[in-house]
Amino acid sequence: MNISPDQTVLLDFGPVSINATLVFTWLTIALLAGLARWITRKLSTTGELSSWQNCLEVLVEGAQRQIRDIARQDPDPFLSFIVTLFFFIATCNLLAVVPGYEPPTGSLSTTTALALCVFCAVPFYGIRRHGLRRFLHLYLEPTPLMLPLNLIGELARTLALAVRLYGNVMSGGLVAAILLLVAPFVFPALMNVLGLLTGLIQAYIFAVLATVFIAAATAAQEQTAHHSQPRV
């Protein structure tokens, strides 16, 4: 039994092999990018809105509001990053009910890549906002003794981000497959409905955690800035 779509190799070119994860990732990217391109091709600011544009505006504004609530700062710098993560993961998880589609998020390599994106985005936004010196100084808070713990925490939360998404999606698919053997009629459908719910929640949680990590790198520095110059 396969516990990862990585093991389904579709094409093999010697050292490079095209497995199911890659193919379904490309399919998902093409679907999302094509849909976004198609909707934004005929945007209008006056008069009749197309229903797709309306739908997209609702989603983007909702995401903006959520990020502002969670991060308590201006959402625009990292809006595109967070929303891209959310839509990619949510689409993968929701398409899992389509027969023959193996969700790429059910493979540890995809989730590790996504977690590494978050891992790189934290210093990127931190440095862009407050400069290299102040960002690195964040690792010495509250005392320089905490430096190893801060570094380990940075790595551990990346690992946790990757394994959490992988475990949830993969376990959903696996439980459905096992139930298909045990009770083939009603229960797999029920588990798939539950899988839709957990898939969306996991996508939301991934996005929220990414927001929290990035916001911690950008907002805590503001606080230290306030603390360091209170008497000016």
Binding site: M1, I3, D69, I70, A160, V163, R164, Y166, G167, N168, M170, S171, L174, I201, Q202, Y204, I205, V208, L209, V212
Partner: protein
């Protein structure tokens, strides 16, 4: 006893124990978290949106410990490196 049998038995028993013991603490913790969130919502229904959002994130953090156990047990059953090694060694 040959090593195939030992590895098979140890893997299956450990996989069961991992899930069985490893989910106790997350289950209790999630119950406590949910209880307190419900109490908070009952006292402040206006803050229900914020509370449930924080609850979801917190539950996901708690749940990930149980999921680590699950992943480890699945690796033990379906993708056991020691088992693969022994099978490859006997085939040689």
């Amino acid at each position: 006893m040959d090593s195939t049998l030992v590895i098979g038995v140890v893997s299956i028993v450990t996989a069961g124990l991992t899930v069985g013991l490893g989910t106790i603490a997350p289950a209790l913790a999630e119950g406590r978290a949910l209880m307190n969130a419900l109490l908070a919502i009952a006292q402040q229904p206006d803050e229900a949106a914020t509370i449930s959002r924080t609850l979801f994130v917190g539950l996901a953090m708690i749940e990930s410990t149980a999921i680590y156990c699950f992943v480890v047990s699945l690796i033990l059953i379906f993708a056991n490196p020691f088992w693969d090694h022994v099978i490859a060694a006997t085939a040689r």
